[in-house]
Amino acid sequence: MVEQEVALEVRGKTVQLWQGGDGPPLLYLHGAGLYIWMPVHNWLAGRRRVFLPVHPGFGESGGFDEIEDIEDLVFHTVDVMDELGLEQADVVGLSLGGWLAAELALRHPQRVKRLVLVDAAGTRVAGVPRGNIFMATPAKARALLFHDPASRLATTLVPDAVPPERMETVLRGREAAARLLWHPHVAQRKLTSRLGRITAPTLVVWGSDDKLLPLAYGEAYANGIPGARLVVIEKSGHLPPFEHPERFADVVLSFLEA
């Protein structure tokens, strides 16, 4: 299950890809803040072949100029699946990646075997304010993202000052994130009204204490997608896969293997 980092060529663009493990394919769609192989991926790779493609504009992946909105990212992700020879895969998406996973399942149901949405962006719940990560200082960002903002995990993933050697990647990643997540209210409204069309068996996983996208957003996904089940991860904020990797992997793998 040792991870491997490779560069794919997809329609003339470079796509950075992490992969590892053996078993049925699991496509992991990353969120806007972290796009590297983490301990949770080792847990998943224990029973699955995990593919973690880095979205355009993030990390080492090119092609950002062609991404205007989530629809473009769906097309791109289908291209990546084609390149990887994945006719169909289980798809797990966190935050931005969760939104992408839901849009993918909506538009290309034959490509998604089972769907796991984790603290997923992309919907609109009237009257429940979302956090604004782009307006947040590092300290406020930690408070929005983590159950324990003072934890080593929180201060490592969201440091007060970005190390100079990582600055360019971080700035480009923030720009790529803002392109998609600034305030996509039309896309959110449309996805929210279309959730009933998703046919993949769906598990919604949510941190009990998510302050960026409160639990009401998870409930909206679970209530909107036919047959979806909601599992709440206690003592977790916006990032259950990183805050509780083993517990999270257990929940996901049990669902995928049920």
């Binding site: 782009f134 307006m135 923030r174 803002a178 600034w182 305030h183």
Partner: protein
């Protein structure tokens, strides 16, 4: 030398405990702090100051655009310009604005400037700005598209002014099937275009390619501003094959002329700090949404050297950094002379009302400047 009397029209009544209670004078500052009665007096005084500038012999009067803040009360500078077209008769009127990417309908800018140009008999100077990062929030525009929208809106407006209508403008962000602006601009082919900028590489290239006057932003060290002018001159020489003339370089400066150096500082300083610590109280996170400034510009070494005015803490620092030009007439003349030579500029964009400075003090400042400073500068640096 073209000498501009530029106005920001600040709200001067933020309470003494403002800094303790609020982390920003922009975007999230409750508008219940605005008092319409006092606002009415302010608009009257501020417009009168600009009208006085014509009488005092300034070449240009200028208004500014910002949204949802106490720093400046001109979300729509064209409204002020419209009033000024009828209150003045000779002076040129600069709108700096317009924040093009904020608008889904930049044709409105083309129309309004054309109206103003006809109403004023060809006295308009059209500014075109990207807008501040915080204004991406104010107008809910995705900051990662602001540069693209800016360029496209600029092209649309210039074509709307210069090409016979109707025609179809086909862009990525703007697509208008019937571009046909009535009225046409009074000045032909179109009013002069001035571009303010914070010195980002993108803006430098944009103005150099088009030979537009470039006006720096006033709130960093004088030396940092001059480096941007140097960058413009170097880029134009190496990539566009021409030497940038002084008429293409504008130095924005807060100017206060007192009777003596000591009295000038005493009178000016409280209003300077009001601007620096209250009006420009603006969290970094509001100011720099992702994508508003390119990654390339943010990584440039000069970016770190710049010290925004709200971060300085002593008058010594303000004076040494050249954040404001303050003193007796003789001192101001001397500082301007040196500064003009170093900056290589042919435009002085003076700001004479700063922060909470009251009406009478502002007028006295403008009069002393016009009487004791302006003639000498004109003589030494003819147009």
């Amino acid at each position: 030398m073209q000498i501009v009397c530029f106005h920001l029209m600040p709200w001067p009544h933020l309470p003494a405990d403002f800094e303790q209670k609020h982390d920003s004078a922009w975007l999230t500052l409750p508008n219940t702090l605005f008092d319409p009665e006092r606002g009415r007096t302010l608009y009257t005084d501020y417009l009168d100051q600009l009208v006085a500038a014509e009488r005092l012999g300034f070449d240009v009067i200028g208004v500014n655009e910002h949204h949802q803040n106490a720093y400046g009360l001109m979300p729509s500078p064209n409204i002020m310009a419209a009033a000024l077209t009828k209150m003045t008769s000779r002076v040129k009127i600069l709108v700096l604005g317009s924040a093009l990417p904020l608008y889904d309908h930049p044709l409105r800018v083309a129309e309004e400037v054309a109206m103003l140009d006809v109403m004023s008999g060809g006295r308009m100077i059209a500014g075109m700005v990207v807008g501040l990062g915080v204004e991406a929030y104010s107008y809910e525009v995705n900051p990662t598209f602001m540069r693209e929208r800016y360029r496209e809106a600029h092209d649309l407006i210039v074509r709307a002014w210069t090409e016979p209508g109707p025609f179809h403008f086909e862009g990525k962000h703007y697509d208008f099937r019937f571009v046909n602006v009535w009225p046409r601009t009074y000045q032909q082919p179109h009013p002069p275009i001035w571009i303010p900028g914070s010195g980002s590489i993108e803006t430098i290239r944009f103005v150099a390619d088009r030979r537009y006057p470039f006006i720096a932003l006033p709130y960093s060290q004088f030396d940092v501003m001059c480096e941007h002018f140097d960058l413009l001159r170097e880029y134009a020489a190496s990539h566009c094959g021409y030497d940038v003339p002084p008429s293409q370089i504008g130095w924005p400066a807060m100017i206060y002329v007192g009777e003596t150096d000591t009295s000038a500082r005493e009178e000016f300083e409280p209003h300077f700090w009001y601007l620096a610590k209250k009006g420009l109280r603006l969290p970094r996170e509001y100011m720099f949404p992702p994508g508003h400034t390119s990654v390339e510009s943010q990584l440039r070494p000069g970016h770190a050297k710049r010290k925004f005015i709200s971060l300085i803490s002593s008058w010594k620092e303000a004076e040494e950094g050249g954040y404001a030009i303050v003193g007796s007439a003789e001192t101001v003349r001397q500082k301007l002379r040196e500064g003009i030579k170093r900056a290589g500029c042919g435009i002085i964009q003076g700001i004479f009302q700063v922060g909470s400075m009251p009406h009478a003090m502002t007028l006295a400042n403008m009069e002393r400047f016009a009487r004791h400073v302006m003639p000498a500068i004109r003589e030494e640096f003819p147009q």
